[in-house]
Each structure stands twice: as C-alpha cells, then as structure tokens.
Amino acid sequence: MMPEAALKELAARLLEEGLVDLFIGYGPGSLPLRSTPVFLRQAAGAGGLILGPTCENNLAPYLARFPGERVGLVVKACDARALVELIRENQVNRENLYVVGVPCRGVICRQKLEGRLAGRELTAGRIEGDAVRCGGHEWEEAIPLDQLVHPSCAHCRLPAPELFDVCLGDGEDPVAASGEALEARDARDAGARYREFSREMEKCLLCYACRQACPACYCPECFVDRSQPAWMGGSGDLSDCMLFHLVRALHVAGRCVDCGACARACPQRVDLRVLNRRLEQEARELFGFTPGLDPGHKTLPGSFRPDDPDDFVK
C-alpha cells in the first residue's frame, strides 16, 4: 500500500479505536504546493491526510499544547529527531505518543521555487513522480523535484525516521544523495562572513516565525520577552536581530536537528541555517554528537567527558 493510503487507514483506526485522542498530520493547503497542519479528533477526517514534498512543517512543536492527551503524530526523519530531543529533555511524554514515521524525499523549498518561477505566479501545482508540475496564467512547467528540495533536505544525511511506532513505506531514497559530504569549514575571512551575516540579519523583522516553528524553542518565556532585565531593545535594529539569532543559535546548539523548519517559516527568507549548521558541525566534529538519534544519551550541553579537549571546566 502507498504510504499515504496507509496513513489514512492508520489514523482512522487509531482514532476509531480510541488509541489516540488526537491525530496531527498534514492536509492540503489553500495555496498550490502547500500543505497545512490538521488536527483530527474523529476518524472521519482521516481521508484528508496527505504526505509528500509539500509537508514542510515540523509538527513536533504542537505537542506542548496537548499535555496529558494521547497524540498520534506524523514525523519525517528530521521531525523524529526533533522528537527524540524533546523526549530527552522531558518535554514530551513518550508514552502518550503514537509516532507515525513517514518516508521523505525532501520537502519543497518555496524560495527555490520562487526563484525558478521568476515572478510568474504559481496557481496550480502537483507532484508527479520526481517532477513538480507547476502552472499559472498561460504557462506550465515541470521542474525536477531534486532541484526544488529545501537545503536542509539536500544536506540530509539521515532520511529515515529513527523513532517511530509505525514506519510507513520503507527505504524510499531521498532525492538528494544522502550523506552529502560535510560542508567544508567556511574559509572566508571574518570580515566577509560578518558582511554576509549582517546582510541576512538586516532582512529580519523579528516576527519570530522561526522561533515559533522550531521544535527546540519551547521556553515558556523567550529571553527576548523578558523586561527585567530587558536583554534586547526590541526596536528591531540590526543589533537586536543579531542578538536574537545568535542567542537562539547558541541555545539550540547540540539540540538543533537541522529540520529547516525555521528557515521555511521565515517570510523574509533569512538564511537561518547558516548559524545552526556550523554549530551542528562543531557538535559532531568536536564531541562526536549528532542530536536526535539516541534518547538515552545525555544532552550535549549536559554531558562531560574526561577527555574533553578544553580545560576550562577542569
């Protein structure tokens, strides 16, 4: 059975048999090539569930809103890694969760798509095999999916869910060659990197879509919202934007699973992964730690090894 059909059947059964109170998945969005999160409490709605490259949101952040309820959740591999972190950090009770792992070939990057469309408005779109069929006013174009997948997917080294109760469809290859070589350390000088960083930060409006979409950003009160002391001015000038993103990056270092949800949520197309990617690399290279894999492992910031190369804690 195709994964999507299996998902519909499974969600209906879970709800019907009362195994979950709520099932969170994706339904068709109101715009072409978009999906939207759906919250099902009755089996009747399960037929509307969809899967595929339009399912760009990470649904894990929603779990905090339903404490005590038994929730069925659709997870792509990266979402599952986020879930592992949430379980590790005692934010989610594994026992209340029914995790439905789904295959993923990468999700569509709307920024790449916009670039390809070059100003033409997309009014219809569908996925056919490896092609994304796009259409608008008096034009049609098929674009290979691998040219449109989000950068976080293109660099995805772990495309199969690690944590699940059921995994639908197995071994579907990601469009991007998996295990793409680790990015080389940025060799440019500090000035060039700072200029690029500033350019990205200048776009930020501090709408906090990134934070809200991020499964690792679950603080009940974000540091930017504190007024005594006020860590940040809030006027939205460049230093505010830099401060927010730098602190957020450090706060999710060793916890960020590079799902890319933050970058896809950004209405200003800020390249938010530029910071996280580097910190993820540091965690991997310096500490041999990849977030989101083993819930039994201590958190990276919460663990210490005697052979730590730095001596500041000794």
């Binding site: 969005g29 109101s30 715009l31 072409p32 978009r34 999906s35 939207t36 999160p37 759906v38 919250f39 949101n57 952040p61 929603y62 916009e114 670039g115 469309l117 070059a118 100003g119 408005e121 997309l122 009014t123 006013h137 409006l205 501090l206 709408c207 906090y208 879509a209 934070r211 809200q212 979409a213 009160e221 919202d225 007024s227 001015g233 809030g234 006027s235 939205g236 000038d237 896809r264 949520a265 209405p267 197309r269």
Partner: protein
Amino acid sequence: MVGFIPEAELDRVLARLAGPYRLYVPVSCAGRVELGEWSPGIRPVLEGRAYGTAKQLFLPRSEELFAFGTHPDGTPRVVQPERDRRPLALFGLRPCDARAIGMLDQVFLGQDPPDDPYRERRQGALLMGLVCSRPGRACFCAQVGGSPAGTAGLDLLFTRIGGGFCVEAVSTAGEAHAAQEDWPAATAAQVAGAREIQQAAAPAAMATPGLAQELEARFEDEVWARLHEKCLGCAACTFFCPTCHCFDVMDAGSYDHGTRLRCWDSCMFPKFTLHASGHNPRLSGKERMRQRVMHKFCYYPLRFGPEACVGCGRCIEVCPVNLDIRAVLAELGGSE
C-alpha cells in the same frame, strides 16, 4: 476627463514626479515584487502585487519619535526629529493597498489627536493606483467590500490598456495633479477599453452585512479553540498586513543621550498585553488569534465602519503553516 499616457511616456511621467516627491514603485527584488524608491532606469513591475505593504512607508518598522539628552547644566531637553519633507508618491499601488491606507488614516488622522509622524508622511502624498486585471491566488478583495478597480484612498487611477495607461483623477489632489500634468485626453476607444478592463476586474459585491455584530456575540464561542489550533503564534501575518498598525513605544539609549522609538508590535505576542503586575488578559494563542480576527472583522468595523481587511491575501502567503483567513471567515459564518 480621462487622460492617456503611452507606455513609452511612463518613464518621463515618473521622472517628473521624482523631483518633488519621494517616488516609490513596484520593483523586482530577488525574485519578488517590492516597493522600491524610483530612480532613472528603474522599470516598475506592473504584474502582481508587492510582497511587502505600502504601510511601511507611512508607518515604518521602527522610527524615532524624538531624541532626548541634557543641556550643559544637566537639565533634560527633547528634540523632535527632522524628517524628509518631500511628500511621498506611490505609483502602481494596488487598489487593496490604497484602501488599506485609508483605513490607517481613520486611526491615525481621524481620531484626535492626529498622529504627527504619520500625518507628516501622509500629508501631500500622491497615491497612484493600478487596476488589477487578474486576481492573485490569495486575493479576496471583493469579499471584504473592495474591488480590483476600487478607487478608495487613491488620487489617480491607472488602467493599463494596449499601448499605455488611461489615467483618471479620483480625488481632489488627483485632479490638481492631472490638471498640472495636462495629459492628452484618451480617445473614446481607449476609454472604452479601460472601462472594459475595470468591469472585468470588478467582481460581484460580496460584502458581509452584520458580520461585526455576529462576531461580537461569538466572543466566547467554542470555534476559537479549533480556529487557532495550527497557529504558531508568530507575527508574520500582522507584520505583512496592510491594515495592522499596532505599535510599541520604547526608549533606546540612556537619560543623557537617547531616543524614544515607535516600533511595530503584534497582538500575536504574549507580551503585548502583559501588565507590569504579571497579569495578562490574553493568556494563550487562542485569545491572541481571536483578538486579531476580531479587531479586523468586529472591533474596527464597530468603530469605523468597514472591515479592517482589504483582502490582499498577504497573511495567507506568509503564514508558515498556511492558516488561511478565508477559511477562518468561512468557519465564522462570514463570506465564502
């Protein structure tokens, strides 16, 4: 009278405006249409509507209300900023965006005291609209009382026909400008062509009488729990809304040397209504999303008449989870 500007003349028309005015036009910017300051050589984009709103020209993301500091004797002094005195001119504005500016006018100018910084930018501004010939995928202006050929808030209305633009003055300021420009009259055929496009663009009126009153009675309705379910609680929708105007006032710097700023704020943020005592009248995302919807479709109409939504669809486009206000309205028993 309807004037006619040949396509090839547009550049000269814009160049004449650019002296006395700060002229903004839709430009292509990294694959998107944005409002940008015109300079010679810039070709306005006449398809689609700008990704960002025109409100940011009148109510910037952040602006200085005044500066403060101290005199040599230590007593404080307050200095109001000098702003660019040249009025704004906007060309290629979509009718929905012009209508939204009219709604901001009600809040910032229509209630005493007028908002000084806003008035400085708004006074003398020339708004030149362009009729939409084809609705975008997220457009729903007709459902909220607007029209792709609407003139509300505009001074001049441009209709693009073969070979150029028909221009009509739709305000006294527009008439004054048209008289000054003295554009050649459009031929009967050109006027007929413009009318045809305007009528084709104009959708059937689908206003929603009584929605405000109906919503007022549904403040405690259970439906809100479901409607806000997928909302992440970010401010993308409010920052990209052409009628959202909530702002914060804050100081930067110190007693000796600082500025008082006014910056965009959003009812979607928990801090928005947080009292110093810790009490917060809008505790969760449900209350905050309800406020956003109610402000647009209930509170603003009860105060000023029309709904504070022009159907531009930006909130639909920028929402990270594709929460569609049209669906929200449908569920609330409004249009659709």
